[in-house]
Amino acid sequence: MSTREIFDSRIQSGLLLLPTLLVSVVFLYYPTALAVRTSFFDSSFGQGDEFVALENYVTLLTDPGYHSSLLLSILFAAVVVVGVIAVSLYLTFLIHEVDTGQGLYLISVIWPYALPPAVGALVFLFIAHPTLGVLTGPIEAVGVDVNWFNNGPQAFVVVALAAIWKQIGYNVIFMIAAMNNVPNTLTETAELDGVTGLRRLVSVYVPIMTPTLFFLVIINTIYAFFSTFAFVDLLTSGGPSNATNILIFDLYQEGFSFFNFGVASAKSVVLFLLVGVLMFVQFRVTDEYSYYGA
């Protein structure tokens, strides 16, 4: 009944919205439209465009390199999402359980939220460097030959670890809020019923935190697909032999190493559809579970 809409000047509201709309149209919508358009052209830097219809998409469909990059990205995202959620959830649970030093523990695990990926990448490059790394000695002592500059799977693991490390902070921030929202009476009921330790986490907290966890799964997936560029670029440059060549890095190379703007645009459009699907899933899932939050 009551309303917040206390002003009604159309001119004023138009002026207030103008900057956001202008920037959105010029720098967000227009480039996206441009990408869609360019994806139908054979367009290279400094050359005229030639309309090629769906040829660029056909190229993507038939390029085994792109297929493996797509599969690699999905595998990478899966590893990162599962890793981040598992580690963060356990950390959050431990912090939730202690009384003393909670604030200090919290800040010492959420700080990677502020960590620039480029810094994270370089630090990892340094501590896990195959010849110089401080961790290399101890790891080799247990019988693993640290050789990720040439060993694909090892490179994949290093990039994934760095990516997981950086994302823990963000996840714990949301998880601790969700876990603190679990009514105390539920915790106490669980205690009375003898549901202790990890079982309480899995059978009491996790179900109640479901909306937050879904939100984080989507956010982490988007993160793994797009925001891990700096890790790949600085740690492995997509190598060795494309073992870490995830979609976003592949797209960057297509555009700025090979200057195939047509194909690169088609790849952008594919990424756009990917984000779209992820966001759509998030909205649907959040909707479905929203009653938990009420």
Binding site: S2, L28, L34, S108, L115
Partner: protein, 294 residues
């Protein structure tokens, strides 16, 4: 079935009072130990970086080498002055501040129009802004690069700030916050005939201080940590930002002209601004995050 029986038995036990299990508190010492180990793992890489930044060479091949050196002043001076890191930091700061201030102003305007004006198609406009969440930089950097060339903005601060000014996230968070301001306060303003400008400056903004600070931190961290877009669009060292500056330093290391201790000094410098802001303003930051998820 078995579980149910166990449950019933425990229930009966606890009712009789002879076997009331004392739960969480027994686990505390172990919990602290686990937390210590995990916190150590999360902090270790960056601790190494800080320690190495104080050493002469940065050759740390065993854990025994992890003692602080005495070259801190020398290293940081060299990074800041000789390797232009002061310049990079300054560029990053300018970029981040322009983005934060721009986003805040423009988003407060937009959110105010969306919440407090009774105008047609408002919901549509809001959707139009929200839809830009589907268009992150990685999806459109190829056409954006072309657009910047056309505008002649390449290699300028305009290129790395203006495209970020429209922010669906910020508008969304502010809108959620505005919707939580009691209607009666808004209506009081209406009854008193408080105009839009006065309302914004003296009611809305003071009542949104916490959220505005929180959003600013989120946006600062986001802007400061941008890597891919500056890498593409800025090609002169004089205009480069810290994240890409790190990549330049790393290149020199690979070329053998530079010691790792300088790279770690640069990494530490790059981490400091977002980290300090996050630690100082963690309270409004965490509160703002809790709005974002809704």
């Amino acid at each position: 079935m078995g579980e149910l029986l166990q449950y019933a038995k425990r229930r009966a036990d606890s009712l009789r009072g002879d076997n009331v299990t004392k739960t969480t508190y027994d686990a505390k010492p172990g919990t602290h130990l686990q937390l210590w180990l995990l916190v150590f793992a999360v902090v270790f890489p960056i601790a190494v970086a800080v320690i190495v930044s104080t050493k002469q060479t940065g050759v740390v091949t065993s854990l025994g080498d992890l003692l602080p050196g005495s070259y801190a002043v020398e290293n940081y001076r060299e990074a800041l002055v000789d390797y232009q890191f002061g310049r990079f930091m300054w560029n990053s700061l300018a970029m981040s501040v322009v983005i934060v201030v721009g986003k805040l102003v423009v988003s407060v305007f937009a959110a105010m129009a969306i919440v407090y004006y009774r105008v047609p198609y408002k919901d549509l406009v809001f959707l139009f802004i929200l839809f830009t969440l589907l268009l992150p930089v990685p999806v459109r950097f190829i056409p954006l690069f072309q657009l910047m060339n056309d505008l002649g903005w390449s290699n300028t601060i305009l290129a790395i700030t203006v495209p970020y000014i429209a922010s669906a996230t910020t508008v969304f968070i502010l809108r959620q916050h505005f919707l939580s301001i009691p209607t009666s306060i808004v209506e009081t303003a209406k009854l008193d005939g408080v105009g839009p400008l006065r309302f914004m400056l003296f009611v809305l903004i003071p009542m949104s201080k916490g959220v505005l600070v929180g959003v600013s931190i989120i946006m600062f961290v986001y802007a400061w940590n941008q890597y891919l877009w500056p890498l593409i669009i800025i090609d002169s060292e004089a205009n480069q930002v810290a994240q890409v500056g790190l990549q330049l330093l790393q290149g020199d290391v690979q070329g053998g002209q530079l010691s790792w201790s300088l790279v770690m000094a640069g990494s530490t410098l790059t981490l400091l601004p977002p980290l300090l802001l996050m630690i100082v303003f963690r309270k409004p930051l965490l509160e703002t995050f809790s709005i974002q998820q809704k």
